[in-house]
């Protein structure tokens, strides 16, 4: 599978849009990118990445204040990807937004690539933080949000972070949850990709998360529960979260792991396994692309 296969969509940056159909289309393009990237690399994490396509799409093409031509724009909103193993969805989103050439997606995980197996800040435009070891994105986002809200008194910028649900097993997450509640970080908007799977199986078998809404509310967070594969629901949740200035918001986004690829959906074995070339063709067909 050659690099130019990445470019079957018109290779231009998609623009910010409020159009639901356009957002759905972009999410689907990103999903096709993910399948090609992981298949070409021969390793990676397609399951969670596919399920998160709408979340990243709405953030980068609708909700967030950013400028792909100026990744370091001092007035931008900032996004911390905490579950760094879903890097393919971040990379595809950044490329489709215009941060770097789409063709570069084909270099994922290759020696010398800027698309490291897990995101590393400093090499690829748009990557705000190095991540991979789980549990540390929320606290970095909280630190950034605390500076904006409580030290520099900047009110118009927002800080976003994305966590996997299995990631909530990590103690660092709950230290950050207490911190953000204490400092009333109303400019902090978190997402939990609630896809119910992790490497060893179902989240509720590996380590039950039980009532996530109650947990976050008890830490003084504002909590929303949405269908994370519905672009309208995601956009509405982001808008509402921005309006809640007195508390941080956690958006518990129910998503389908492996979304759009029937043989991957809901199957935890696709958390960290690359499809074979034949499987990738099958997946691309299911996603409406040219195999």
């Amino acid at each position: 599978m050659s690099d130019d296969v990445m470019t079957d969509e018109a290779v231009r940056a998609f623009a910010r849009t409020d159009d639901e159909a356009e957002l759905r289309k972009i999410a689907q393009v990103i999903r096709r990118d993910i399948v090609r990237m992981v298949a070409t690399a021969g390793s990676g994490h397609p399951g969670g990445a596919l399920g998160m396509a709408e979340l990243l799409t709405v953030l980068y093409f609708n909700g967030m204040r950013h400028d792909p031509r100026d990744p370091g724009w001092p007035d931008r909103d900032v996004f911390f990807l905490s579950n760094g193993h879903t890097a393919p969805v971040l990379y595809a989103t950044l490329a489709r937004a215009g941060y770097f050439p789409v063709a570069e997606l084909g270099t994922l995980r290759q020696l010398g690539s800027r698309l490291q197996g897990h995101p590393e800040r400093g090499t690829l435009p748009g990557v705000e933080s190095t991540s991979g070891p789980l549990g540390s994105g929320l606290s970095q986002a909280a630190g950034y949000a605390h500076v904006l809200r409580n030290i520099d008194q900047v009110r118009h910028r927002f800080v976003y972070t994305m966590m996997g649900d299995g990631e909530l097993d990590e103690g660092n997450v709950w230290e950050a949850a207490m911190f953000a509640g204490k400092y009333r970080l109303g400019n902090l908007i978190g997402f939990i990709d609630r896809n119910n799977i992790q490497i060893d199986g179902a989240t509720e078998d590996v380590m039950p998360l039980t009532d996530l809404r109650a947990k976050w509310e008890s830490f003084d967070w504002h909590v929303l529960e949405i269908d994370g594969n519905n672009v309208r629901a995601v956009a509405d949740a982001i808008g509402l979260s921005k309006a809640v200035s007195w508390a941080p918001t956690m958006i518990i986004a129910q998503t389908v792991p492996g979304k759009g690829v029937p043989f991957m959906e809901y199957d935890h074995r696709w958390h960290g396994m690359a499809p074979s070339p034949a499987q990738a063709e099958q997946a691309l067909c299911a996603l409406g692309g040219v195999a």
Binding site: R121, G135, G143, Y144, I151, E175, A176
Partner: protein, 337 residues
Amino acid sequence: MSEYFLDPNVLTAPLLEPIRFGFGRGLLAAGEADERVVALCADLVESTRMHLFRDRFPDRFVEVGIAEQNMVTVAAGMAHAGKIPFTSSYAAFSPGRNWEQIKTTAALNRQPVIVIGSHAGINVGYDGATHQMLEDITLMRVMPGMRVIAPADSLEAEKATMALAADPAPSYLRLARDKTPIISTPESPFEIGPAYVLVEGHDVSLIATGTMTYHALVAAELLAGQGVSAEVVHVPTIKPLDEDAILASVGKTGRAITIEEAQTIGGLGGAICELTAGAHPAPVLRLGIQDRYGETGDPAQLLKKFQLTGPQIAEATAEWLQRSPAAHRSPTHTDAE
């Protein structure tokens, strides 16, 4: 070689002050000098001397509670937002507990988080092995992109703190709890990087860091009385190591003894052996904690138990010199006598 300006009373009646006190003053000064400086603490504000900063700059101080992993990761986020964060706790907990977070979100992430590990070493005393951090030098110097600094006294800690704020990058600053002798003076230089030759000699290099530099000075004085000429090299910056200064000294003396209040495995002793083995092979005796944990006790008694007092270092040096021939010395440093 720049003059170090040792305190003239260091061997007779040194003033005593905990090294951490200098950090507290330095942080306050750094905060005055640069409004980007912020401070985070994990429920140990007064004992890590952050209260001076907190009381002066309450809006720039962050109490994170007993959560060291959160402390450094919040700090990384604050650094990304343009701040220069100092995090403080006991070294046993930070970097003892949050090493991976420091690596991933500060060092690898290229964020200038400055980790303060107070109460390092056996001088913590009565709190015992769990609280006597002895592995921190080893843990931190193995991390790419991390600077490791262990000041000799409170005055040097004050200067080091200001130097770190003025040149923000991922860093570890090692402090101690107990009152220890002040060896330097306000005029003494401090820069991140250089090692300082405090006493010149030609029989052996005593290479020390942190609290042990004072004891190396005492040992050198005692050795001089026995006709042994010991050179004392103070290494406040363990990483990046001042290789030229170390090699110049070992090239001159042909033998080195490293002294640290920490595990010798991978610590200063490890660093010196790694350097000399490749560049100038020479016998090295590593004094410090020898692959065991600390224990409860009076700090002074513990120092004796671990054979790290000046007289014990002198004794160990004299005994070792008897049986360890010096390596080839550099031609430019052959004995003149």
